[in-house]
């Protein structure tokens, strides 16, 4: 469904938020380890997210990443679009150049409903809501088992 980069970003952001709730600021090494992502790739991804304002970072001893608490909740959709664009949310399931209600492809009706649900999911859930759910129900961030 999502690109690897998006998946790492989602997992990482939720992890950062979770740690922030415990008054901690995880660094790249910790994040990468916890979400089971490659260290340098994780570093690059969060560099970009920091530049785009999705997270704040601090250099030096005690440094790391954090999400500004005064910011409003970040919908997954915003993050995903920033990383991989909005094709998934507006594109045609049959691969036509665009989805057109008035000139629908053979999949338009059925695919449209699924796309709507995807939109609803990523617009409704936020990094913060996922972190909160994780706290409440102790959900999984990584798997020990092989793929």
């Amino acid at each position: 469904m999502f690109k690897k980069e998006t998946e790492y970003a989602l997992r990482g952001m939720v992890y950062i938020q979770l740690q922030n709730l415990k008054d901690r600021r995880p660094g790249v090494a910790e994040i990468a380890h916890e979400i089971e992502a490659p260290y340098f790739f994780t570093a690059k991804i969060f560099q970009r997210l920091a530049k785009q304002g999705f997270v704040k970072s601090m250099k030096g001893k005690g440094g790391g990443f954090f999400i500004e608490p005064e910011k409003k909740d970040l919908p997954l959709k915003e993050l995903i679009i920033a990383i991989e664009g909005e094709e998934l949310f507006i594109g045609c399931g049959f691969g036509l150049k665009n989805c057109d209600e008035n000139n629908p492809c053979p999949l338009h009706h059925q695919y449209g409903m699924i796309r709507d649900q995807i939109n609803k999911l990523v617009a409704g859930e936020t990094i913060q809501s996922l972190a909160q759910n994780t706290l409440n129900k102790t959900l999984a961030f990584s798997r020990e088992t092989e793929k």
Copy 2:
């Protein structure tokens, strides 16, 4: 949602089926043109699909591709899995190595419902059903407009 290769394959297969219904056997040039896909790439894709038995082909004058009429309807899911694997149909939306009902990720509940719907769509619709729908309602195969 799908890879380009999958999209071309879906569009091409439905186009072939549509032409077969008119007792025609389109060749690569015609298929590629009609579905707006690159000629050589289309050729390679249908070569593979022919080798895998999803279509039959004939060489030489009057040659081209056709779907054996005696075969039962081909669910989109079979075709898609043959091209890009089943990750989309069983994978974890959060990017964990696998989806595990008993150790769910923060997206499991919500994403699971969407994934189920995707499964239902591609298992229910077939190349033949899409072709028939296209005939009945004159649906779109290509777009004149730019992306």
